[in-house]
Assembly symmetry: C2
Homo-oligomer: 161 residues x 2
């Protein structure tokens, strides 16, 4: 499929797989120092004594990288606009992990009030190089409808709609 | 209360309020370029034509800053280790918004298998300077029990436990 995917193009059961991304120690430390400055995300020695037995990435960092991988692997029209998510962190993400995101569309419905968008719900598993699930995400996204795109084009060409 | 809070110290109904934090345009662009590179998070002009009517922060950025504010306002023993969260983004976060996090403990129970940790569930609202809720978060955390801290001290003093 070339070009962007509209709500109209998406079916329950559709699957997407991202490219892998290596979680570098530098990026883990950078994210944690800004947003989740806890010892088990910042200091190897302290982390060894922690519940994790070693330095691990912030779960929010895993979630943020998952978002980047979702965007690059799911070219939805109008972008990925999330309104609600559920996250489970099943295992910690560790420095050097090659993570990929495996997505499946599990629900698809018109929006309650907006005629220009549909709602899809995806389940996305973020896995390490051994296929172990690090994070499970269920996310609801607003996706542009093809019909809206035509109306939108009409508006931007000068219609006073 | 001075010092860290243990599971044993926490009650359902306990409330915490963070300091405010200003969401700067620079930080919004930096986060979005790394983790959520979509036009409505990166380019003011394109964002004006988007569903948001202007540039907005990535929801994941709001979530990450919420985590930082949670850490600085809730001094739990052993840190904040999340295992599962639900997030709703109620309103977009915009450049210049002063955000604060208002937290309430809504559940508290022993851990199913670990005797060294308890589980607490919090509801955290991230609000802008006008008191509008930008994000609602429900999060489960593992919190150290005071009794475990004593056992841990025994171990690190040389016990072969």
């Amino acid at each position: 499929m070339s070009g962007a995917l509209y709500f109209d193009d998406i079916q329950v059961g559709d699957r997407f797989e991202s490219q892998p991304c290596t979680m570098s120690m530098d990026e883990i430390l950078d994210f944690a120092s800004k947003y989740d400055p806890q010892p088990f995300h910042l200091d190897e020695e302290t982390a060894r004594e922690s519940i994790f037995g070693g330095l691990v990435a912030s779960g929010w960092h895993t979630a943020a990288v998952t978002m980047r991988l979702l965007i690059s692997s799911n070219p939805f029209a109008g972008g990925l606009i999330g309104s609600a998510v559920e996250i489970r962190w099943e295992r910690p993400t560790r420095p050097g992990d090659d993570i990929s995101v495996f997505t499946e569309v599990i629900e698809r419905r018109p929006h309650r009030s907006r005629t220009d968008r549909g709602v899809i719900v995806i389940r996305a598993e973020t896995r390490n190089g051994d296929g172990e699930v690090l994070q499970s995400l269920i996310s609801r996204f607003l996706i542009e409808r093809r019909s809206f795109d035509l109306a939108s084009s009409a508006r931007s060409s000068g219609s006073a709609l």
